[in-house]
Amino acid sequence: MNHRALKRKDLFWLALVVLLALMPAVSAVATNTFLMHVLILILLFSAMAQTWNIIGGYGGQTSFGHSVFFGIGAYGAGMAVVTYGLSPWPGIGIGMVAAAAVAVLISYPCFKLSGHYFAIATFAIVEIFHRMFLVWYWVGGALGLDYPVVEQGLKNFMWYDTKTGYYYGALALFVLVFGIVRFLESHRFGYYLRAVREGQETAESLGVNSQAIKLTAMALSAALAAMCGAFFGQYNLRVDPSMVMSLDMSMKFVLVTILGGAGTLAGPLLGAAVLIPLQEYTRALWGGLGGGVDLIVFGVLIIIIVIKQPAGISGMVRDIAKHIERRRAAAKGGTSIDAP
């Protein structure tokens, strides 16, 4: 990728962030709280999926354990507010550090496993943490943590009467996570990570310390996932193990990324932009009918997308762009740059 293409790509992301920042200024958006809710979830789940993408997409290590880090972040913020009556901010910081530490402790032995075995080990870790938090009295056990009513605003990161604060919070999270990944993508660490994904032995033979690279990526991914978890707790004003530290939540990290396109910067955003509105609107439209009609429709749509384009939505977008480019080239009487 040349320097000019890099700049064009960054301009696209910058324009997107400006557009997203202006959204609440449109009264039709700001007054539609359900639409705001969907937008907040798209930004949050994009960021969550991007944190997974660091280790799962760029690093090629399929982790089903990210809800553990997400949950630790949620509990960090939740305990700061509910247990200690503080602002959530110190809890968010502690949660991020704790999640990174736990990620390193767990990953060190697990990275010795390869392929499916690593994925299976991370499954087990979610179950262990879920059950541990269910019976751990200090963190509220199965009762979880219910937020008290405190002063609204940035200090407590809580808003009751408007979603605008949460929206900008989610946007800041989105910019931070995507910004970090964009930076890593074009720097040495990102290249090393992709080299480890493509062939660990080959990368090591060229002097890459694969274990250190993977551990660093996992720690970074976990710390950022914890930040997303803290946001989730603050947004729902409740934290309990089934809500934040479950296989269900772990699957969302993976599903959004895979659906959008793993190992690409845009993939998590595309995945969340399709999956979250589908999930929320199918539930709003058909959830009340009972019988899980919304979940059936949601599932069928995912199957269709995956069958039609296993490379995810970003692969789909790439194919459409190439096709248009070829047709344009053909219309001009020339040949496509991609033509064999």
Binding site: R131, V135, L278, L301, I305
Partner: protein
């Protein structure tokens, strides 16, 4: 290479689904009519979907009676069409999936997008907690039928009202039963207690209240066994209880888990002297039928059972409508409370002669409401929104029927004590 046209097809489906979002925009036509929109939030899918579906049917039953004229039904407002000079209820249903975050999002959507006047739900205490918080901030009335966590009515909310008993009240009632058995049964000698409960907000709250009530009543809790809801095996949990062998067992076990617990107790050939159970595992008539004779001799608190028909004669006609919505399944103690909540709300609106939620909330607090679907026949709310007249009777399944055994003045049968051993049935 994937063909361009084949790529378009899934996108069209996705776009079509997104276009359907216009369907969630509230219909302006309803605003012109004399209707009050009520949002319901129940777990219509997930592990307790059956209970949620019955709660939804219970609200629909009450609304059908309130919106139409049923002179043969002896509940307030049934004898006239609509209320408040021709107003009718319109229900907008939402599925919480039994998840707190989904329930909260649905409460927000119902209030802000659907424009509901009030909410009813949400069965799971963990969902009722955040959903009612949303309603309170929006100054919307939240009628809660069956959520049993005592914490819900300890928040000093103005717009939250619960008609059912709490696990705190039931725990004290269970301890009274133990004392009564010690007094009336020869060689009962109940001293120790075991707890088995699902590791959820409901189960944990019930267990905590049980411990407090047991300590106050002088009973010693010798085993405390939580399990993950939706369990596929309870062997180790039942084995733990068997090894400690408490005299009495309190269970907070819902749905299919309750059936599994009873079957495992039979498999391990163990029973305590008496087993008392909270909420809808024991109370569920479908589960009692599935278990057949194995369900017998267990006890629990019951707010309603078809065997109570003589005590609650008005229920029969209402239940006929309810059964048409549930495929013949009768009310249980939980679902009937959702109908009670709806009937009480309608009476309060009628009495207040106002649709101002604050006026209706004050009216709800200021009066005692006639409730033929409640065991006590009346509903009145204490500060915080708890129905201070809620009542439940301790029943024991005998021959597949819920027999009333305690308190004495409500009893129609004698308690079988101790539980008959599995090999002697």
């Amino acid at each position: 290479m994937v063909h361009y046209k084949s790529l378009i097809k899934p996108w069209l489906l996705v776009v079509a689904a997104l276009c359907a979002l216009s369907g969630v925009v509230p219909s302006p036509a309803l605003a012109q009519e004399k209707v009050i929109k009520i949002g319901t939030i129940f777990p219509l899918t997930g592990p307790v979907a059956l209970a949620g579906q019955r709660c939804k049917a219970a609200v629909e039953t009450a609304v059908e009676i309130l919106n139409n004229k049923y002179p043969n039904i002896k509940v307030p407002l049934a004898d006239k069409k609509g209320f408040l000079d021709g107003y009718k209820f319109v229900l907008v249903h939402a599925d919480s999936q039994g998840k707190a975050d989904v329930g909260k999002a649905e409460a927000e959507r119902l209030i802000n997008q659907e424009g509901v006047w009030g909410l009813i739900g949400a069965y799971n205490s963990s969902v009722s907690m955040p959903a009612s918080f949303v309603a309170e901030r929006a100054k919307k009335i939240f009628m809660c039928g069956a959520s049993s966590s005592a914490a819900l009515t300890q928040r000093n909310m103005k717009f939250f009202f619960r008609t059912a008993s709490t696990d705190e009240i039931e725990s004290h009632e269970f301890v009274e039963v133990l004392k009564w058995l010690n007094k009336t049964q020869k060689n009962a000698n109940i001293k120790t207690l075991g707890l088995i409960y699902e590791n959820s907000v409901f189960g944990k709250h019930a267990a905590e209240e049980a411990k407090k009530a047991a300590a106050a009543g002088g009973f010693e809790v010798i085993t405390d066994v939580p399990f993950t809801p939706g369990a596929t095996n309870l062997d180790s949990e039942v084995q733990t209880m068997k090894s400690k062998n408490p005299d009495a067992l309190f269970g907070a076990v819902l749905g299919a888990d309750y059936a599994l617990m009873v079957k495992t107790m039979k498999k391990m050939n163990w029973n305590p002297k008496v087993s008392l159970n909270y909420c809808s595992g024991y109370q569920d008539p479908v589960i009692a039928k599935q278990l057949g004779p194995d369900a017998n001799f267990f006890m629990g608190s019951t707010g309603y059972s078809p065997q109570f028909s003589k005590m609650m004669p008005a229920v029969a006609e209402v239940e006929k409508i309810f059964k048409t919505k549930t495929g013949g399944v009768p009310y249980d103690s939980d679902s009937i409370q959702e109908s009670v909540a709806m009937f009480v709300l309608a009476q309060a609106i009628e009495k207040a002669r106002s649709l101002d939620p604050e006026t209706v909330a004050k009216t709800l607090y200021a009066n005692t409401w006639t409730s033929p679907l409640s065991l006590s026949g009346k509903v009145a709310f204490a500060p915080g929104g708890q129905n201070k007249l809620s009542l439940s009777i301790i029943t024991q399944l005998q021959g597949g029927e819920y027999k009333r055994i305690f308190p004495k003045e409500s009893a129609d049968s004698k308690a079988v004590f101790p539980i008959t051993a599995w090999d002697k049935r």
